[in-house]
Protein backbone atom coordinates (compact mmCIF):
# COMPACT_ATOMS: atom_id res chain seq x y z
CA UNK A 1 0.00 0.00 0.00
CA UNK A 2 1.37 3.39 -0.91
CA UNK A 3 -1.44 5.64 0.23
CA UNK A 4 -0.14 8.87 1.64
CA UNK A 5 -1.32 9.65 5.11
CA UNK A 6 -2.67 13.11 5.62
CA UNK A 7 -1.37 14.75 8.76
CA UNK A 8 -4.08 15.27 11.33
CA UNK A 9 -4.51 18.93 12.21
CA UNK A 10 -4.02 19.38 15.92
CA UNK A 11 -4.94 22.83 17.06
CA UNK A 12 -3.92 23.58 20.61
CA UNK A 13 -1.87 20.48 21.43
CA UNK A 14 1.79 21.38 21.31
CA UNK A 15 3.98 18.30 21.15
CA UNK A 16 7.78 18.25 21.14
CA UNK A 17 10.27 15.49 20.35
CA UNK A 18 11.32 13.14 23.14
CA UNK A 19 14.69 14.21 24.51
CA UNK A 20 16.82 12.96 27.40
CA UNK A 21 16.00 16.12 29.35
CA UNK A 22 12.24 15.62 28.89
CA UNK A 23 12.53 11.99 30.00
CA UNK A 24 14.42 13.14 33.12
CA UNK A 25 11.58 15.57 33.83
CA UNK A 26 9.00 12.80 33.38
CA UNK A 27 10.91 10.47 35.68
CA UNK A 28 11.20 13.23 38.26
CA UNK A 29 7.40 13.64 38.24
CA UNK A 30 7.06 9.90 38.67
CA UNK A 31 9.57 9.76 41.50
CA UNK A 32 8.04 12.56 43.54
CA UNK A 33 4.45 11.40 42.99
CA UNK A 34 4.84 8.12 44.87
CA UNK A 35 4.54 8.23 48.62
CA UNK A 36 6.77 5.18 49.01
CA UNK A 37 9.69 7.21 47.61
CA UNK A 38 9.36 9.87 50.28
CA UNK A 39 8.88 7.38 53.11
CA UNK A 40 11.85 5.24 52.12
CA UNK A 41 14.17 8.22 51.73
CA UNK A 42 13.08 9.55 55.13
CA UNK A 43 13.80 6.09 56.54
CA UNK A 44 17.33 6.23 55.11
CA UNK A 45 18.00 9.67 56.61
CA UNK A 46 16.53 8.67 59.98
CA UNK A 47 18.61 5.49 59.95
CA UNK A 48 21.83 7.47 59.42
CA UNK A 49 21.22 10.18 61.97
CA UNK A 50 19.34 8.03 64.46
CA UNK A 51 22.08 5.45 64.64
CA UNK A 52 24.70 8.15 65.12
CA UNK A 53 22.63 9.41 68.02
CA UNK A 54 22.14 6.04 69.67
CA UNK A 55 25.73 4.86 69.15
CA UNK A 56 27.15 8.22 70.23
CA UNK A 57 25.09 8.41 73.40
CA UNK A 58 25.77 4.79 74.32
CA UNK A 59 29.51 5.04 73.68
CA UNK A 60 29.80 8.24 75.67
CA UNK A 61 28.09 6.78 78.71
CA UNK A 62 30.19 3.60 78.58
CA UNK A 63 33.52 5.28 77.92
CA UNK A 64 34.83 4.91 81.45
CA UNK A 65 34.10 1.17 81.44
CA UNK A 66 35.73 0.43 78.03
CA UNK A 67 38.99 -1.53 78.25
CA UNK A 68 42.20 -0.46 76.54
CA UNK A 69 41.83 -2.69 73.47
CA UNK A 70 38.35 -1.40 72.85
CA UNK A 71 39.56 2.19 73.16
CA UNK A 72 42.41 1.53 70.74
CA UNK A 73 40.06 0.13 68.10
CA UNK A 74 37.60 2.93 68.69
CA UNK A 75 37.24 5.48 65.94
CA UNK A 76 34.84 8.31 66.56
CA UNK A 77 34.29 9.08 62.87
CA UNK A 78 33.31 5.52 62.01
CA UNK A 79 31.04 5.30 65.04
CA UNK A 80 29.18 8.40 63.90
CA UNK A 81 28.70 7.04 60.40
CA UNK A 82 27.62 3.53 61.47
CA UNK A 83 24.16 4.27 60.05
CA UNK A 84 25.48 3.66 56.54
CA UNK A 85 24.90 -0.06 57.09
CA UNK A 86 21.21 0.56 57.77
CA UNK A 87 20.71 3.30 55.21
CA UNK A 88 21.97 1.04 52.42
CA UNK A 89 18.96 -1.21 53.02
CA UNK A 90 16.49 1.61 52.40
CA UNK A 91 18.45 3.00 49.45
CA UNK A 92 18.85 -0.45 47.90
CA UNK A 93 15.19 -1.43 48.28
CA UNK A 94 13.97 1.84 46.79
CA UNK A 95 16.41 1.64 43.89
CA UNK A 96 15.06 -1.78 42.89
CA UNK A 97 11.45 -0.65 43.43
CA UNK A 98 11.81 2.37 41.16
CA UNK A 99 11.93 -0.11 38.27
CA UNK A 100 10.35 -3.34 39.54
CA UNK A 101 7.29 -1.35 40.66
CA UNK A 102 6.71 -0.41 37.03
CA UNK A 103 6.96 -4.00 35.90
CA UNK A 104 4.66 -5.23 38.68
CA UNK A 105 1.91 -2.71 37.88
CA UNK A 106 2.25 -2.67 34.09
CA UNK A 107 3.28 1.00 34.15
CA UNK A 108 6.38 0.02 32.20
CA UNK A 109 4.25 -0.49 29.08
CA UNK A 110 3.11 3.13 29.25
CA UNK A 111 6.66 4.29 29.96
CA UNK A 112 8.18 2.40 27.05
CA UNK A 113 5.36 3.36 24.68
CA UNK A 114 6.16 7.00 25.38
CA UNK A 115 9.91 6.40 25.08
CA UNK A 116 10.23 3.43 22.73
CA UNK A 117 13.97 3.92 22.33
CA UNK A 118 14.03 2.79 25.97
CA UNK A 119 17.59 3.71 27.01
CA UNK A 120 16.70 7.32 27.92
CA UNK A 121 14.43 5.83 30.61
CA UNK A 122 17.33 3.89 32.13
CA UNK A 123 19.67 6.89 32.08
CA UNK A 124 17.00 9.19 33.52
CA UNK A 125 16.11 6.85 36.37
CA UNK A 126 19.76 6.13 37.18
CA UNK A 127 20.77 9.81 37.03
CA UNK A 128 17.87 11.08 39.14
CA UNK A 129 18.11 8.40 41.78
CA UNK A 130 21.89 8.81 42.01
CA UNK A 131 21.61 12.59 42.46
CA UNK A 132 18.81 12.30 45.02
CA UNK A 133 20.73 9.66 46.95
CA UNK A 134 24.03 11.51 46.88
CA UNK A 135 22.56 14.84 47.98
CA UNK A 136 20.38 13.39 50.72
CA UNK A 137 22.99 10.98 52.04
CA UNK A 138 25.72 13.60 52.01
CA UNK A 139 23.47 15.79 54.14
CA UNK A 140 22.58 12.85 56.37
CA UNK A 141 26.24 11.79 56.73
CA UNK A 142 27.24 15.31 57.66
CA UNK A 143 24.39 15.56 60.16
CA UNK A 144 25.34 12.18 61.60
CA UNK A 145 28.89 13.37 62.00
CA UNK A 146 27.72 16.45 63.89
CA UNK A 147 25.50 14.33 66.12
CA UNK A 148 28.46 12.04 66.78
CA UNK A 149 30.64 15.05 67.49
CA UNK A 150 28.12 16.27 70.02
CA UNK A 151 28.56 13.09 72.05
CA UNK A 152 32.12 12.10 71.21
CA UNK A 153 33.96 15.39 70.71
CA UNK A 154 36.17 14.80 73.72
CA UNK A 155 37.30 11.50 72.16
CA UNK A 156 38.57 12.96 68.92
CA UNK A 157 35.70 13.65 66.59
CA UNK A 158 36.12 16.94 64.81
CA UNK A 159 36.05 17.73 61.14
CA UNK A 160 39.78 18.14 61.46
CA UNK A 161 40.10 14.52 62.55
CA UNK A 162 42.06 12.38 60.07
CA UNK A 163 39.96 11.33 57.08
CA UNK A 164 36.76 12.87 58.49
CA UNK A 165 35.79 14.59 55.27
CA UNK A 166 36.73 11.60 53.16
CA UNK A 167 34.58 9.37 55.35
CA UNK A 168 31.60 11.70 55.02
CA UNK A 169 31.87 11.95 51.23
CA UNK A 170 32.76 8.26 51.05
CA UNK A 171 29.53 7.37 52.85
CA UNK A 172 27.46 9.36 50.36
CA UNK A 173 29.51 7.93 47.48
CA UNK A 174 29.11 4.34 48.61
CA UNK A 175 25.35 4.76 49.07
CA UNK A 176 25.13 6.29 45.59
CA UNK A 177 26.91 3.24 44.19
CA UNK A 178 24.40 1.04 46.05
CA UNK A 179 21.59 3.11 44.51
CA UNK A 180 22.94 2.61 40.99
CA UNK A 181 23.54 -1.11 41.51
CA UNK A 182 19.95 -1.39 42.75
CA UNK A 183 18.58 0.47 39.70
CA UNK A 184 20.59 -1.82 37.40
CA UNK A 185 19.34 -4.93 39.17
CA UNK A 186 15.79 -3.60 38.91
CA UNK A 187 16.13 -3.48 35.14
CA UNK A 188 18.00 -6.79 34.95
CA UNK A 189 15.74 -8.86 37.21
CA UNK A 190 12.46 -6.86 36.94
CA UNK A 191 10.87 -8.47 40.01
CA UNK A 192 10.96 -6.75 43.39
CA UNK A 193 11.73 -9.84 45.45
CA UNK A 194 14.37 -11.13 43.03
CA UNK A 195 16.05 -7.74 42.68
CA UNK A 196 16.25 -7.09 46.41
CA UNK A 197 17.46 -10.62 47.16
CA UNK A 198 20.20 -10.36 44.54
CA UNK A 199 21.32 -6.91 45.70
CA UNK A 200 21.65 -7.88 49.34
CA UNK A 201 23.11 -11.23 48.42
CA UNK A 202 25.86 -9.28 46.68
CA UNK A 203 26.28 -6.63 49.39
CA UNK A 204 25.77 -8.57 52.61
CA UNK A 205 25.93 -12.32 52.02
CA UNK A 206 28.79 -12.70 49.58
CA UNK A 207 31.43 -11.13 51.90
CA UNK A 208 30.47 -13.70 54.56
CA UNK A 209 30.61 -16.63 52.17
CA UNK A 210 33.92 -15.33 50.87
CA UNK A 211 35.45 -15.96 54.28
CA UNK A 212 35.10 -19.69 53.57
CA UNK A 213 37.58 -19.40 50.72
CA UNK A 214 41.22 -20.41 51.33
CA UNK A 215 42.93 -17.53 53.08
CA UNK A 216 45.37 -16.73 50.29
CA UNK A 217 42.48 -16.42 47.83
CA UNK A 218 40.58 -14.10 50.11
CA UNK A 219 42.95 -11.19 49.73
CA UNK A 220 42.57 -11.36 45.95
CA UNK A 221 38.78 -11.48 46.00
CA UNK A 222 37.11 -10.08 49.10
CA UNK A 223 38.39 -6.48 48.89
CA UNK A 224 36.87 -6.21 45.44
CA UNK A 225 33.30 -6.95 46.56
CA UNK A 226 31.20 -3.77 46.44
CA UNK A 227 30.56 -3.61 50.19
CA UNK A 228 34.25 -4.05 51.06
CA UNK A 229 35.35 -1.60 48.38
CA UNK A 230 32.82 0.81 49.86
CA UNK A 231 34.18 0.20 53.35
CA UNK A 232 37.62 1.31 52.20
CA UNK A 233 35.98 4.48 50.96
CA UNK A 234 33.88 5.48 53.97
CA UNK A 235 35.89 4.05 56.83
CA UNK A 236 38.29 6.49 58.49
CA UNK A 237 40.25 3.56 59.90
CA UNK A 238 40.01 0.82 57.27
CA UNK A 239 40.95 -2.78 57.66
CA UNK A 240 44.65 -3.22 56.79
CA UNK A 241 43.73 -5.73 54.07
CA UNK A 242 41.33 -3.25 52.43
CA UNK A 243 41.98 -1.36 49.20
CA UNK A 244 43.16 2.23 49.30
CA UNK A 245 40.27 4.72 49.16
CA UNK A 246 41.14 5.60 45.56
CA UNK A 247 41.20 1.97 44.48
CA UNK A 248 38.01 1.33 46.44
CA UNK A 249 36.31 4.11 44.54
CA UNK A 250 37.62 2.75 41.26
CA UNK A 251 36.33 -0.74 42.04
CA UNK A 252 32.91 0.65 42.97
CA UNK A 253 32.77 2.61 39.73
CA UNK A 254 33.56 -0.56 37.78
CA UNK A 255 30.76 -2.45 39.54
CA UNK A 256 28.32 0.35 38.73
CA UNK A 257 29.37 0.60 35.09
CA UNK A 258 29.13 -3.17 34.59
CA UNK A 259 25.66 -3.14 36.18
CA UNK A 260 24.41 -0.27 34.06
CA UNK A 261 25.78 -1.75 30.83
CA UNK A 262 24.13 -5.10 31.57
CA UNK A 263 20.86 -3.30 32.36
CA UNK A 264 21.08 -1.27 29.14
CA UNK A 265 21.73 -4.32 26.96
CA UNK A 266 18.87 -6.30 28.48
CA UNK A 267 16.43 -3.37 28.43
CA UNK A 268 17.11 -2.80 24.76
CA UNK A 269 16.99 -6.45 23.78
CA UNK A 270 14.18 -8.00 25.78
CA UNK A 271 10.43 -7.82 25.17
CA UNK A 272 8.84 -5.42 27.62
Amino acid sequence: MSTTTEPVPAPGVRVAPVTQARVVRAEWIKMRSLRSTTFTLIAAVVAMIGLAWVVGAATNSHWSRMDLMERLRFNAVDRSLAGVHLAQLAIGVLGVLVISGEYATGMVRATLSAVPRRLPVLWAKAFLYAVVTFVLMLGAAFASFLVGQHFLATHGTTLAAPHAWRAIFGTAGYLTAVALLAVSLGFIIRSTAGGIATLFGLLLVLPGIGLLLPTDWQKHTLPYLPSNAGESLFSALPDPTALSPTNGLLVLVIWVVVGLVAAAVLLKKRDA
Binding site: T5, V13, V15, R22, A26, I29, S33, M107, A110
Partner: protein, 310 residues
Protein backbone atom coordinates in the same frame (compact mmCIF):
# COMPACT_ATOMS: atom_id res chain seq x y z
CA UNK B 1 -1.68 4.13 8.64
CA UNK B 2 -0.40 0.83 10.01
CA UNK B 3 1.32 -1.64 7.70
CA UNK B 4 2.28 -5.15 8.80
CA UNK B 5 4.34 -7.32 6.51
CA UNK B 6 4.79 -11.01 7.28
CA UNK B 7 4.62 -10.23 10.98
CA UNK B 8 5.49 -13.30 13.05
CA UNK B 9 6.05 -13.71 16.78
CA UNK B 10 7.03 -16.87 18.58
CA UNK B 11 7.34 -17.24 22.34
CA UNK B 12 9.54 -20.30 22.63
CA UNK B 13 7.64 -23.09 20.85
CA UNK B 14 4.35 -21.23 20.83
CA UNK B 15 3.45 -19.22 17.74
CA UNK B 16 1.44 -16.20 18.87
CA UNK B 17 1.29 -14.41 15.52
CA UNK B 18 1.96 -16.10 12.20
CA UNK B 19 2.82 -14.28 8.99
CA UNK B 20 0.32 -11.43 9.32
CA UNK B 21 0.21 -9.01 6.41
CA UNK B 22 -2.38 -6.27 6.52
CA UNK B 23 -2.76 -2.53 6.49
CA UNK B 24 -4.99 -0.27 8.52
CA UNK B 25 -6.13 2.86 6.69
CA UNK B 26 -6.83 6.30 8.06
CA UNK B 27 -10.29 7.82 8.10
CA UNK B 28 -12.22 4.73 9.19
CA UNK B 29 -12.53 2.54 12.24
CA UNK B 30 -10.89 -0.82 11.59
CA UNK B 31 -11.97 -3.67 13.82
CA UNK B 32 -9.47 -6.33 14.87
CA UNK B 33 -11.43 -9.44 15.68
CA UNK B 34 -10.55 -12.81 17.02
CA UNK B 35 -11.26 -15.05 19.99
CA UNK B 36 -9.23 -14.58 23.15
CA UNK B 37 -5.72 -15.85 22.56
CA UNK B 38 -5.87 -15.30 18.80
CA UNK B 39 -2.87 -12.95 18.88
CA UNK B 40 -4.61 -9.57 18.88
CA UNK B 41 -2.79 -8.17 21.91
CA UNK B 42 0.53 -9.56 20.71
CA UNK B 43 0.04 -7.86 17.34
CA UNK B 44 -0.63 -4.57 19.09
CA UNK B 45 2.47 -4.97 21.28
CA UNK B 46 4.49 -5.62 18.12
CA UNK B 47 3.14 -2.44 16.50
CA UNK B 48 4.24 -0.44 19.56
CA UNK B 49 7.65 -2.10 19.67
CA UNK B 50 7.02 -3.48 23.17
CA UNK B 51 7.82 -6.90 21.72
CA UNK B 52 10.20 -7.48 18.84
CA UNK B 53 8.90 -9.62 15.96
CA UNK B 54 10.56 -12.99 15.34
CA UNK B 55 10.35 -12.13 11.65
CA UNK B 56 8.55 -9.64 9.45
CA UNK B 57 8.00 -6.00 10.21
CA UNK B 58 5.38 -3.44 11.04
CA UNK B 59 5.40 0.32 10.50
CA UNK B 60 3.20 3.23 11.46
CA UNK B 61 3.07 6.13 9.01
CA UNK B 62 5.98 4.58 7.13
CA UNK B 63 8.42 4.13 10.02
CA UNK B 64 8.84 1.63 12.85
CA UNK B 65 7.12 3.10 15.92
CA UNK B 66 10.37 3.57 17.85
CA UNK B 67 11.94 5.52 14.98
CA UNK B 68 9.49 8.41 15.32
CA UNK B 69 10.84 11.43 17.23
CA UNK B 70 7.40 12.04 18.78
CA UNK B 71 5.99 8.53 19.26
CA UNK B 72 2.92 9.55 21.27
CA UNK B 73 1.97 11.98 18.52
CA UNK B 74 2.03 9.09 16.05
CA UNK B 75 0.21 6.42 18.07
CA UNK B 76 -1.97 6.67 21.14
CA UNK B 77 -2.48 3.22 22.60
CA UNK B 78 -4.74 1.61 25.15
CA UNK B 79 -3.48 -1.86 25.92
CA UNK B 80 -5.67 -4.48 27.49
CA UNK B 81 -3.53 -5.06 30.51
CA UNK B 82 -3.41 -2.00 32.72
CA UNK B 83 -0.41 0.23 32.25
CA UNK B 84 -0.66 2.47 35.30
CA UNK B 85 1.27 2.51 38.58
CA UNK B 86 -1.41 1.73 41.17
CA UNK B 87 0.00 4.11 43.79
CA UNK B 88 0.11 7.16 41.55
CA UNK B 89 -2.79 9.52 40.88
CA UNK B 90 -4.34 9.66 37.44
CA UNK B 91 -3.24 13.28 37.11
CA UNK B 92 0.41 12.56 37.92
CA UNK B 93 0.38 9.51 35.67
CA UNK B 94 -0.73 11.61 32.71
CA UNK B 95 1.55 14.50 33.69
CA UNK B 96 4.61 12.21 33.62
CA UNK B 97 3.67 10.81 30.20
CA UNK B 98 3.02 14.35 28.94
CA UNK B 99 6.44 15.52 30.16
CA UNK B 100 8.24 13.09 27.83
CA UNK B 101 6.79 15.01 24.87
CA UNK B 102 6.81 18.49 26.39
CA UNK B 103 3.01 18.53 26.56
CA UNK B 104 1.51 21.15 28.88
CA UNK B 105 -0.42 20.41 32.06
CA UNK B 106 -3.43 22.21 30.57
CA UNK B 107 -3.64 19.47 27.94
CA UNK B 108 -3.54 16.92 30.78
CA UNK B 109 -6.57 18.62 32.35
CA UNK B 110 -8.23 18.67 28.95
CA UNK B 111 -8.01 14.91 28.41
CA UNK B 112 -9.08 14.26 32.01
CA UNK B 113 -12.23 16.31 31.34
CA UNK B 114 -12.71 14.62 27.98
CA UNK B 115 -12.90 11.14 29.53
CA UNK B 116 -14.87 12.33 32.54
CA UNK B 117 -12.34 11.60 35.31
CA UNK B 118 -12.15 15.12 36.80
CA UNK B 119 -13.60 14.03 40.16
CA UNK B 120 -11.08 11.26 40.75
CA UNK B 121 -8.00 12.62 38.96
CA UNK B 122 -6.13 13.22 42.24
CA UNK B 123 -6.92 9.78 43.66
CA UNK B 124 -4.68 6.72 43.47
CA UNK B 125 -5.24 4.90 40.19
CA UNK B 126 -5.10 1.59 42.08
CA UNK B 127 -8.53 2.31 43.54
CA UNK B 128 -10.14 2.78 40.13
CA UNK B 129 -12.87 0.49 38.82
CA UNK B 130 -12.22 -1.33 35.56
CA UNK B 131 -14.28 1.26 33.70
CA UNK B 132 -12.38 4.17 35.25
CA UNK B 133 -9.11 2.42 34.42
CA UNK B 134 -10.21 2.16 30.78
CA UNK B 135 -11.08 5.87 30.73
CA UNK B 136 -7.66 6.72 32.15
CA UNK B 137 -6.05 4.55 29.46
CA UNK B 138 -8.04 6.37 26.79
CA UNK B 139 -7.00 9.73 28.24
CA UNK B 140 -3.36 8.65 28.00
CA UNK B 141 -3.90 7.51 24.41
CA UNK B 142 -5.38 10.88 23.40
CA UNK B 143 -2.78 12.96 25.26
CA UNK B 144 -0.61 13.94 22.29
CA UNK B 145 -3.52 14.09 19.83
CA UNK B 146 -2.14 11.12 17.83
CA UNK B 147 -2.82 10.41 14.17
CA UNK B 148 -3.28 6.69 14.92
CA UNK B 149 -5.14 5.12 17.81
CA UNK B 150 -4.66 1.51 18.85
CA UNK B 151 -7.15 0.31 21.41
CA UNK B 152 -7.22 -3.19 22.83
CA UNK B 153 -10.74 -4.09 23.96
CA UNK B 154 -11.66 -0.51 24.93
CA UNK B 155 -15.23 -1.45 25.84
CA UNK B 156 -14.01 -3.83 28.58
CA UNK B 157 -15.54 -2.96 31.91
CA UNK B 158 -17.54 -0.02 30.60
CA UNK B 159 -21.25 0.27 31.32
CA UNK B 160 -23.72 0.56 28.40
CA UNK B 161 -23.48 4.33 28.50
CA UNK B 162 -19.70 4.12 28.45
CA UNK B 163 -19.79 1.69 25.53
CA UNK B 164 -21.92 4.11 23.52
CA UNK B 165 -19.53 6.92 24.48
CA UNK B 166 -16.47 5.01 23.26
CA UNK B 167 -18.27 3.99 20.04
CA UNK B 168 -19.08 7.62 19.24
CA UNK B 169 -15.60 8.77 20.22
CA UNK B 170 -13.93 6.23 17.93
CA UNK B 171 -16.15 7.17 15.01
CA UNK B 172 -15.51 10.89 15.47
CA UNK B 173 -11.75 10.30 15.76
CA UNK B 174 -11.83 8.36 12.49
CA UNK B 175 -13.98 11.04 10.86
CA UNK B 176 -11.21 13.54 11.68
CA UNK B 177 -8.94 11.53 9.41
CA UNK B 178 -7.19 9.41 12.01
CA UNK B 179 -6.35 5.74 11.78
CA UNK B 180 -8.38 3.88 14.41
CA UNK B 181 -7.54 0.23 15.10
CA UNK B 182 -9.74 -1.42 17.73
CA UNK B 183 -9.63 -5.00 18.90
CA UNK B 184 -12.56 -6.91 20.25
CA UNK B 185 -13.68 -10.47 20.72
CA UNK B 186 -17.31 -9.35 20.33
CA UNK B 187 -18.46 -9.28 16.74
CA UNK B 188 -21.75 -7.57 17.53
CA UNK B 189 -20.00 -4.58 19.13
CA UNK B 190 -17.63 -4.30 16.18
CA UNK B 191 -20.51 -4.44 13.68
CA UNK B 192 -21.76 -1.17 15.16
CA UNK B 193 -18.39 0.59 15.21
CA UNK B 194 -16.09 -0.66 12.49
CA UNK B 195 -16.25 -0.07 8.75
CA UNK B 196 -13.50 -2.55 8.01
CA UNK B 197 -12.49 -5.73 9.79
CA UNK B 198 -9.40 -7.82 10.14
CA UNK B 199 -10.13 -11.24 11.63
CA UNK B 200 -7.46 -13.44 13.21
CA UNK B 201 -7.61 -16.94 14.62
CA UNK B 202 -4.65 -18.63 16.27
CA UNK B 203 -2.38 -15.84 15.10
CA UNK B 204 -3.32 -16.25 11.43
CA UNK B 205 -5.17 -13.85 9.18
CA UNK B 206 -8.69 -15.15 8.51
CA UNK B 207 -10.30 -12.19 6.80
CA UNK B 208 -9.51 -8.62 5.81
CA UNK B 209 -12.59 -7.01 4.29
CA UNK B 210 -15.21 -4.29 4.62
CA UNK B 211 -17.63 -4.91 7.47
CA UNK B 212 -20.55 -4.97 5.01
CA UNK B 213 -18.97 -7.89 3.12
CA UNK B 214 -18.48 -9.81 6.31
CA UNK B 215 -22.09 -9.22 7.29
CA UNK B 216 -23.25 -10.32 3.81
CA UNK B 217 -21.13 -13.43 4.09
CA UNK B 218 -22.61 -14.14 7.46
CA UNK B 219 -26.21 -13.87 6.30
CA UNK B 220 -27.28 -17.16 4.77
CA UNK B 221 -30.62 -16.93 3.01
CA UNK B 222 -32.57 -19.49 4.93
CA UNK B 223 -36.32 -19.12 5.20
CA UNK B 224 -38.45 -21.10 7.62
CA UNK B 225 -41.73 -22.15 6.01
CA UNK B 226 -44.77 -23.86 7.51
CA UNK B 227 -47.68 -24.94 5.35
CA UNK B 228 -50.34 -27.71 5.36
CA UNK B 229 -49.33 -28.58 1.77
CA UNK B 230 -45.66 -29.20 2.44
CA UNK B 231 -45.02 -31.86 -0.22
CA UNK B 232 -46.71 -29.83 -2.95
CA UNK B 233 -44.80 -26.62 -2.11
CA UNK B 234 -41.46 -28.42 -1.78
CA UNK B 235 -41.88 -29.83 -5.27
CA UNK B 236 -42.81 -26.41 -6.66
CA UNK B 237 -39.77 -24.71 -5.10
CA UNK B 238 -37.23 -27.27 -6.23
CA UNK B 239 -34.45 -25.95 -8.46
CA UNK B 240 -30.68 -26.19 -9.05
CA UNK B 241 -29.62 -23.68 -6.36
CA UNK B 242 -32.46 -24.36 -3.97
CA UNK B 243 -32.42 -26.76 -1.06
CA UNK B 244 -35.45 -27.69 0.97
CA UNK B 245 -34.85 -29.39 4.29
CA UNK B 246 -37.83 -30.72 6.23
CA UNK B 247 -37.65 -29.78 9.87
CA UNK B 248 -39.99 -30.36 12.76
CA UNK B 249 -43.42 -29.03 11.73
CA UNK B 250 -42.24 -27.36 8.51
CA UNK B 251 -39.22 -26.86 6.28
CA UNK B 252 -36.18 -24.66 5.79
CA UNK B 253 -35.59 -23.29 2.32
CA UNK B 254 -32.20 -22.02 1.19
CA UNK B 255 -31.58 -20.25 -2.11
CA UNK B 256 -34.83 -18.30 -2.40
CA UNK B 257 -35.99 -15.15 -0.67
CA UNK B 258 -39.11 -15.07 1.48
CA UNK B 259 -40.81 -12.94 -1.19
CA UNK B 260 -40.08 -15.48 -3.94
CA UNK B 261 -41.45 -18.32 -1.82
CA UNK B 262 -44.58 -16.33 -0.89
CA UNK B 263 -45.27 -15.44 -4.54
CA UNK B 264 -44.82 -19.05 -5.65
CA UNK B 265 -47.24 -20.26 -2.96
CA UNK B 266 -49.84 -17.67 -3.92
CA UNK B 267 -49.59 -18.71 -7.61
CA UNK B 268 -50.34 -22.31 -6.61
CA UNK B 269 -53.03 -21.32 -4.13
CA UNK B 270 -51.09 -22.85 -1.20
CA UNK B 271 -51.75 -21.48 2.27
CA UNK B 272 -48.70 -20.42 4.28
CA UNK B 273 -48.76 -20.51 8.09
CA UNK B 274 -45.26 -19.18 8.55
CA UNK B 275 -42.72 -17.47 6.34
CA UNK B 276 -39.68 -16.32 8.36
CA UNK B 277 -36.32 -15.21 6.91
CA UNK B 278 -33.55 -16.40 9.22
CA UNK B 279 -30.13 -14.82 9.46
CA UNK B 280 -27.23 -16.52 11.07
CA UNK B 281 -26.00 -14.08 13.68
CA UNK B 282 -22.71 -12.33 13.08
CA UNK B 283 -21.47 -13.97 16.22
CA UNK B 284 -22.21 -17.43 14.73
CA UNK B 285 -20.51 -16.58 11.46
CA UNK B 286 -17.48 -15.34 13.34
CA UNK B 287 -17.40 -18.45 15.50
CA UNK B 288 -17.62 -20.67 12.42
CA UNK B 289 -14.84 -18.77 10.70
CA UNK B 290 -12.42 -18.99 13.60
CA UNK B 291 -13.51 -22.42 14.82
CA UNK B 292 -12.39 -24.19 11.67
CA UNK B 293 -8.97 -22.65 11.98
CA UNK B 294 -8.70 -23.60 15.61
CA UNK B 295 -9.80 -27.20 15.06
CA UNK B 296 -7.66 -27.64 11.99
CA UNK B 297 -4.52 -26.48 13.73
CA UNK B 298 -5.31 -28.32 16.93
CA UNK B 299 -5.51 -31.50 14.85
CA UNK B 300 -2.32 -30.86 12.88
CA UNK B 301 -0.47 -29.85 16.03
CA UNK B 302 -1.41 -33.17 17.58
CA UNK B 303 -0.25 -35.04 14.51
CA UNK B 304 2.99 -33.09 14.34
CA UNK B 305 3.79 -33.56 17.99
CA UNK B 306 2.98 -37.29 18.02
CA UNK B 307 4.92 -37.77 14.78
CA UNK B 308 7.82 -35.61 15.85
CA UNK B 309 8.32 -37.23 19.23
CA UNK B 310 7.98 -40.83 17.98
Amino acid sequence: MIEADGLTKRYGEKVAVHDLTFSVRPGIVTGFLGPNGAGKSTTMRLILGLDAPTSGSVTVDGLPYAAHPMPLKVVGALLEARAVHTSRSAYNHLLALAATHGISSSRVHEVIDLVGLQDVARKRAGGFSLGMGQRLGIAAALLADPSTLILDEPANGLDPEGIRWIRDLLKSLAAEGRTVFVSSHLMSEMALTAEHVIVVGRGRLMADMPMSDLIARASTNTVAVRTPSATELAAALAGPDVSVVPVDGGMEVTGLTAAQIGDRARDLGIALHELTPKQASLEEAFMDMTKEEIEFHAATDRLESSGGRA
